[in-house]
């Protein structure tokens, strides 16, 4: 077979493959991705008895059928923090992480952390939505700093919560009289894509400069 024919046939095979792949593309489950050891989140709150909540993930213990997370919970009335444990079993679906907490929390705090995969499932399944008392779910792209970010807006009877798809944490919420927003975290970087573009430009410019200097010096040596 001559090279041209071989290349064209290969390209056609790639296109067929791409078509098939695009059709059957599946999405990996998100679960509570933001539950990484070392993760830290702080929300500012207005309209409630407390003005701040922060949660940090200290440790985790994985067993065959469940995972135990050790967190530290702080709010303006408990600034020193209290240990909080969450036991997540793999056998049942958990929509709200802090519903499984071993300590009592302010009512609205349970809406701070969602299972984004389950929300995506509920979006397509009316029964699941009713089961979790959700009136509507919609996707929304937002600008988080200078970076776009995929989110889900969850509407409950008296609440609207903007949930980050990657971590499952509430970025912004109005729950009854209380409104809250995520003000600090080490997991979502506000300007990550912009930083990457800047780094890309810097490295490309440095590459061209060092390349030109290298070629010039070689010419001088000759």
């Amino acid at each position: 077979m001559n090279p041209k024919k071989f290349i064209w046939m290969s390209m056609i095979i790639i296109l067929i493959f791409l078509g098939i792949r695009m059709g059957v593309l599946s999405q990996e489950e998100v679960w509570f991705n933001g539950l990484e050891v070392g993760a830290y989140y702080r929300w500012s709150i207005s309209g409630g008895a407390i003005s701040m909540i922060s949660i940090s993930v200290d440790d985790m213990h994985v067993e065959e059928d469940y995972t135990l997370y050790y967190l530290t919970y702080r709010d303006s009335s408990r600034p020193d923090g209290v240990p909080l444990e969450v036991n997540l079993t793999w056998e049942e679906d958990v929509m709200l992480l802090l519903e499984n907490a071993n300590i009592s929390l302010p009512d609205f705090a349970i809406y701070l952390w969602w299972n984004a995969s389950l929300l995506e499932y509920a979006k397509e399944n009316r029964t699941a939505m009713e089961y979790y008392n959700i009136s509507s779910i919609e996707y929304r792209d937002i600008m988080y700093g200078f970076s776009p970010r995929k989110t889900i807006v969850v509407h409950l009877n008296d609440a609207e919560i903007l949930v980050d798809m990657g971590t499952g944490v509430a970025l912004y919420a109005v729950i009854g009289e209380v409104s809250l927003s995520l003000v600090e975290t080490n997991i979502i970087w506000r300007h990550a894509i912009l930083l990457s573009i800047i780094l890309l430009v810097i490295l490309c410019v440095l590459s061209i400069v060092s390349l030109r200097v290298g070629i010039r010096r070689r010419g001088e040596r000759k």
């Binding site: 792949r21 995929k150 490295l203 490309c204 060092s210 390349l211």
Partner: protein, 267 residues
């Protein structure tokens, strides 16, 4: 002596600096793993863009012709670099930073990762076959047989190990069809690439030898990375920001070095 000369070359120094920077970044994110996904997603596209940009400097001077097999190899390697770069953008910017997903597999990025193998393998194979035809008379029958059998043997062995590791990563669970097809493609393409690489090392000759050598080393790093990735996945040890990613990053830097050598050649 030649090595010392190369180390004085600003572009080589810059490349060494990039490798050291990458190593420092990976040490940092392995001490602070909560930053791993963001930091590696910021760094990856920036490094992957370098070979694409470096070749652009000499693009007008390297004319493409099917008769000139060297130009075929260079242009095909560059097309491969562009496709890999697009794959990295999709993986890092779309999945990691926009969507917040850690290790998306299978994903749209895989279409590009797999797609890039075709021009890379074809470009190398066309040039290596041309080299082989040129030097055929220099090789004895025994050398030729040993070369071909070691190339095919290496491809089969590494392909088999890669496949076993990939299957092991599913721990007995049923593999979805799209993942199965993708796994087969990755293993097959890596095995074919390895055959081409080993044969390339046997026939490498001429003043363009260094450029071919750099492309071969870059591809070898990708294969070592792929097999290590499959091994780590099989035992649940892989995470975004794992030090094994350095092999992948260094392969982009080596690719860029090859394009730099092209720029020096056509100056």
């Amino acid at each position: 002596m030649r090595l010392a000369e190369e180390l004085e070359d600003p572009y080589y120094l810059y490349s060494i600096g990039l490798v050291l920077l990458s190593i420092c970044v990976y040490v940092y994110i392995n001490i602070y793993p909560e930053f791993a996904m963001n930091v590696s997603a910021i760094l990856y596209p920036a490094i992957a863009a370098i070979p694409v940009v470096v070749y652009l400097v000499s693009i007008r001077k390297v004319s493409f012709s099917w008769e000139d097999k060297f130009s075929v190899m260079i242009v095909f390697q560059w097309i491969g670099s562009i496709i890999w770069f697009v794959g990295e953008i999709i993986w890092c910017w779309y999945y990691n930073l926009y969507y917040g997903l850690g290790n998306p597999y299978p994903s749209i990025a895989d279409i590009f990762y797999v797609g890039a193998y075709f021009p890379v393998i074809m470009g190398l194979a066309i040039y290596i076959i041309y080299l082989y035809r040129t030097i055929k008379l220099e090789l004895t029958r025994t050398q030729l047989l040993a070369g071909i059998s070691s190339a095919i043997g290496a491809g089969v062995i590494v392909g088999a190990i890669y496949w076993i590791m990939t299957i092991a990563s599913y721990a007995g669970e049923i593999i979805p069809l799209d993942e199965f097809i993708l796994n087969i493609l990755y293993v097959l393409l890596d095995a074919v690439l390895l055959v081409v690489i080993v044969f390339g090392f046997i026939v490498i000759r001429g003043k363009m030898g260094r450029i071919l050598l750099l492309f071969l080393v870059s591809c070898l790093l990708i294969i070592v990375y792929d097999v290590s990735f499959a091994y780590l996945e099989a035992y649940g040890l892989y995470y975004d920001g794992h030090p094994v990613e350095l092999l992948d990053l260094i392969s982009y830097i080596v690719d860029a070095l090859a394009f730099y050598e092209v720029a020096k050649l056509v100056k």
